[in-house]
Structure formats: C-alpha cells, structure tokens
Symmetry: C2
Subunit: 384 residues, 2 copies
C-alpha cells in the first residue's frame, strides 16, 4: 500500500517509482490554487484547458485566483462533450498553445470533468514530449475516478480511449464545492463509481454509502466530502499499487466490461456511471453463477443502487446477444478473449488461479446474467 493520508485534506499517491504527488481534497481547496501551483507545479506560464460550459461557470474565478497569485495564465476552451475527445481537437489545442508561445517550461491545467482531463492530459503528455500537468476536476466522476490513475486518452474511429498515454499530474485539486453546480443526472452517474469502489475494496465504505443514500442524493456538503475522500483513498491505493495495469488494478474494471458493452450498443447516449451501475449488477450475477461471488451480492448491490437513483438492469429494448458481442470489442480483451474482474463479496476482490485478477467467462453465463432480471427492484429502474 503506497497511498497514505498526511493531513486531513491531502492524500498522497506514489505511483510506482516515479515519485509521488498529492491529491488535495477539501471544501474550498481551490482558493489556495496559486500557492499550491507555486509549490507543486512551478512554471513559466499556465495553460488552463476547459470546455466552454465549465469555462463560463468557473473560468473567471480561476482566472482571478491565478492573477492575484501573480501567475501568468491563458485559457483554451473546446466544445463540451465526449465528441471533443478527438485527435482533431487535440491538434487544435496543441497548435493554439504553440501559437501563443507556450514552451517546455509551461504547465497545463485541466479544469472540468473526465473529457477535459483526458484531452488536456493528452495535450500535456505529448506537448514537446511532455510538460507539467495539473488537474482540477469539477465533476464527481472526475474527482473520484478520472483524475486518479494517470490515464489520458482520445477516442478514434476504432473505439474510445484507444489512443492515449499515462501521465501523472503534479497535483490534483479536488474541491467538492464544485459539485453544487453539477447537473443531477451527472452527479448521480458519478455516485456509481463510488459504489464500485466500495464493492471492490471496502465493505465499510459501502456500508457508509448504504447508510447515507438520502444525504448523498441531497448532496449534503459533509456527506459528499466524505464520499469523495473515501473514494479517492480507495482508488489511490489501488492505482499506487499497480500504475501500469499489470495486475490488481484490473479490479477497477468491475462492472466495466458489461458497462462498456451497453454504452457501445446504446451508442454512448447513456451516462457512463449508469452503464457501470448496470454492468456491476450483471457482473455480480455472473460471479454468483460461476461461484466466484458470494450469493446475495447482486441483490444487495441492486438495493443500494436503487436507493441512489441508479439503474440496475440494461434497458429492456436491448438484445442481450448484442451486448455479449460488444464485450469482444473491449480493449481490455487480451489475445482476443474477454476477461471479467469479479468481486468475491461486497467489498472484496481476490485473485484467482495463477494470481490473476480477472477470469474468462463462457458467453452462455453472460447471456443468462443479462437476461435474468430477478429482483423487482431492478425492473422499476430500467427507465434510463
């Protein structure tokens, strides 16, 4: 375990041997932006990359914080949405930085959700062979998932995130007060990844979520701070152990093999978190069938997701066979075989034979789990 807690609001992540960095988690941590940058990512100039919505919402505040801190910064924006995670937008941003005279001694800051992080991160990873990078996640998904792990990426005709690079930021500023302005649907989708973290690594954290579903949905400030802090700790610990995805990090894919397949079949019209919620339920069912997951796990998960406003089964219109077919296209398919990261019980994953964290599952089992929607709970929540 390489991730530790230094002060109440600093979670240090030490990915591999490359030196660590801090994730500063706290309400109002953004107000210390300039001093944190001077300490953790000193640079000649700063380029803030954000989509136009986020730039409009938070740009002037961030700009003021940088300016009063005496830092030279410029903003570069892009059209909101996953459709901007392309080589074309990456090229446009890179060329804009060059035109504005940014050099190797600059620092690139992503301000926004997962798209901004992936896109700005890939700009930073490839700009003059890599420059300093800082993340300011503003969505729940970005705070507890996308900003931790050093993944950057673009979508290409062949699939999502098939082009990219690993790049660890110098520091992440995670301020849950940004979540006040997040649309309901996007907030709820983010909660699915928090549930996932509980499912794969901490029954105690899962229990806290189960005990606080109402105050999570109300976005009670202290509850959300604890939710974010707990999730950041779990993901940091898993990533710190396995930066390059050689082993245990695979458990973060729980719910994602089916989730990605559902997203693909629905042409990415569904929020990622909703697909992950569905995927976790199906994969719990798969696990119970093959004897890896403790009986009752799927039921418990469905109940929790339901109370959080998350779906628990794929929309009825989708053909199960098409979802199975889509799993084969997942980039985690190594040597062309689909493997699943399954939980052993709510809050725990264990490696299987030969120390592997994933298993191959026959298509028939996957089909059964997809078709078998046993709980009445799940049927009420297919309306996504």
């Amino acid at each position: 375990v390489r991730a530790g807690v230094r002060t109440p609001d600093v979670i240090s992540l030490h990915p591999g041997t490359a030196g660590g960095f801090d994730i500063r988690v706290g309400l109002g941590v953004i107000d210390r932006l300039a001093s944190i940058l001077k300490e953790e990512a000193p640079a000649h100039r700063y380029a803030v990359i954000a989509d136009r919505n986020v730039a409009e919402l938070h740009g002037s505040r961030i700009g003021r914080l940088l300016e009063t801190g005496g830092l030279d910064a410029e903003f570069f924006d892009f059209t909101p949405g996953e459709a901007s995670k392309t080589r074309a937008v990456w090229a446009t941003l890179t060329d804009a930085l060059l035109e504005h005279g940014f050099g190797r001694d600059c620092c690139i800051i992503s301000l926004g959700g997962g798209v901004a992080g992936d896109l700005a991160g890939f700009v930073a990873a490839t700009f003059m062979r890599g420059v300093a990078f800082v993340q300011i996640p503003t969505s729940l998904l970005a705070m507890i998932d996308a900003s931790i792990g050093g993944k950057t990426g673009l979508d290409v005709p062949g699939g999502k995130n098939l082009v990219g690079a690993f790049l660890q930021p110098r520091v992440v500023l995670t301020d849950p007060s940004f979540l006040a302005t997040l649309p309901e649907r996007e907030f709820t989708a983010g909660v699915a990844e928090a549930v996932k973290h509980g499912m794969i690594a901490s029954e105690r954290y899962l229990e806290e979520i189960e005990a606080n579903t109402d105050s999570i949905r109300r976005r009670d400030e202290r509850t959300i701070l604890e939710l974010v802090r707990g999730s950041v700790r779990i993901k940091s610990e898993i990533v710190g152990d396995d930066v390059l995805e050689a082993g245990r990090r695979a458990i973060l894919n729980f719910g994602h093999t089916i989730g990605h397949a559902i997203e693909h079949v629905l042409d990415y019209t569904l929020p990622h978190g909703f697909a992950v919620a569905m995927g976790m339920v199906v994969e719990s069912g798969i696990g119970e069938t093959v004897g890896i997951t403790a009986p009752g796990t799927r039921r418990r998960l469905e109940a929790a997701l339901h109370r959080l406003g998350l779906p628990t089964a794929a929309p009825p219109g989708i053909d199960a066979q098409s979802i199975v077919a889509a799993t084969g296209m997942d980039k985690k398919a190594r040597a062309s075989r689909v493997r699943y990261a399954l939980v052993s019980s709510a809050g725990s994953c264990r490696p299987g034979t030969a120390g592997r964290w994933t298993v191959e599952v026959p298509d028939a089992v996957v089909l059964d789990a997809l078709r078998n929607r046993p709980a009445p709970v799940s049927q009420e929540t297919t309306d996504v």
Copy 2:
C-alpha cells in the same frame, strides 16, 4: 554512469529507475531477430513499421526471419521522408493497426532511419496508452543517435518534433551491415553525430575517428562497427545519466542550436548531419570567443570534418542574421532565451556556474562566429 558493456555486442542502457534495456550491436545481429524478440519483447503479435523504400530493401528478409521464428507479424508502410512525420500519418498507422486487430499485447517494431523511429515510436507510445516497442535502425544516424534516448516525435505547423513522447524501447538491434545499402550522402551526414560524440565526451574516440577518416569513408566493415559501437556507448552513457533532459544530456545539443537554425532557414533541404557539422564549427567559434572553449578547438574540428567529407560553414548565400533569428524558435529555448551547449575542449564538456550545462550567448557573438569563416579549409567545403 549507468551504461555498461556486458558482452562484446551488448550495450546495456538503464535509463532512470524504469529498468534497463539492451542495445545489441553487431554485424549480423539481425539474424537473431526472432530469438531476441522472444527474450526481450515477447508479444502476441508484431507490427513492423517502415517506409516503402526500407520495406522494399529489407522487408522480405525481416519477414522471413520473423516467420521462421514462429512470430506473427504484419508490415505497415508509409511514404519515405521527413514529410511523413505528421499527425496525419501517425493517425493512419494507428487506425491501420486497430483495423488489423492489434491490441495492448502487441509489439511495434520500427525498421529504418530516424523518421521511422520517431513515427513508429510515437505510434507505440500512444497506442492504447503505450505498447512494447523495438527499434531496428538501418541508417547511421538512427544507429548512433535517434535510436538511443527514447525520444519519439512528430512535426507540426509550429515546428519539428514539437509533439511527441519519451518511450524507451525493449531492445534495439543495431546491425551495421545495413549500412552497406545507405546512400553516400546519408552515410556521411551520420558521421557528423559520431564526431559530435567525440567532441562532447571522449577525446580518445575523436582521435580514433581522426585516425580512420579514410576507412570510415570507404565504409570498412570493422571500422564502421567500432565507430557505431563507440558512439552508442557514449550516447547511452549520457542518456542513462539524464533520461528526461534535466541536466547533462543538454551537451548532446552541441552544434544543434545553430544546426537547427540553419536547417530551418534552408527549409530542411540539408541533411541534418550536415547542418550539425556546420553548427558544431560555429558553436566552437562561439565557445572560443566567450572563453569556454579551448583555443584551436574550432580549427581541429574543421580539419576532421573536412577529411570526412562534411561541410564546415553555412552556405555563403545565407544571411547570418536570419540564422540568429531562427535560433530563437528552437524548442530548447526556455523562458524565451536561447542557450548553447558548448565544449570546453575537443572531447570534453564541463558544467558552468550553478551547475548548468548550457550558457546564454549575446547575439553579437553568435553573429561574429557565423560571419567569421577563418580557415581556408572551411571555404572549400561550403558546397552542399
């Protein structure tokens, strides 16, 4: 010093803490391609990236070696020349790999000169966030320079190599027997980088070059093997000390600040090595003027380059002022000031004040060094 010699033909490079890799230098080492790949870069499938000329010259032999070794390989080619080092060609190659079903467990092999290495390396660095990479350099420049150091890159409208990534290969197969088919001009240009290695790090190596200019020009097999081996050792040692270009590695830029500026002014019609030869002469002059370089160094360098068939001064038609202006566009300009890596004498660089390996030089000094073509030797060789 982290680079060492294990057996006569294996030079191990340990860049940073990330684990080392071997550069296998030897006549006929390519014949062991399949067994070396199985050992150093085992993969599900291999993608060989080469320009069409190199693919035509060496493709069938490489293909046979892979096939008889039982390895699954496919070839992907591109139009020869620096003009292929673009985001468009990178995208085309990446999409072709995806269409052919290559996944995270593949290995990308660059076969060719610097362009193939930079381009295939950037494909490997960004394909599914990075896959295994192997280099088979076929030009002298690629063998002794481009294949060592982990640099990959593309040219963009703003300049050369402004987009890229650091990626260390799993292994480099350096077989000087490929050099037999290299065009004269390209071979000679490569020798300039060998001279540079002597100038910055080993007077003994420089003396060997000076003593063997004729057999180098004749491409005597044993002489070329020693030339390549010596150069690979010097560059490996420098890069192994300083993978991310934080310090001493800057000495590899000797001759390159002026060299790149000349290339830029001539719109890249000059072979890189020719520009570096000119740049080294001018920068030796600069160093002598500012008192960093021992008197007589420029003269000695000019004589050696001349005997090797390399130019020693910028073509007479170029305006010195335009070269100085172009130095300001070099991406090594940090905080907008141009710095030079200068030798203290033939075979040695020393850090200056504050431990820095580069110095700022007033434009007037650079202009003088550019205009001042003192030696008769240099005037005979401006015809490039």
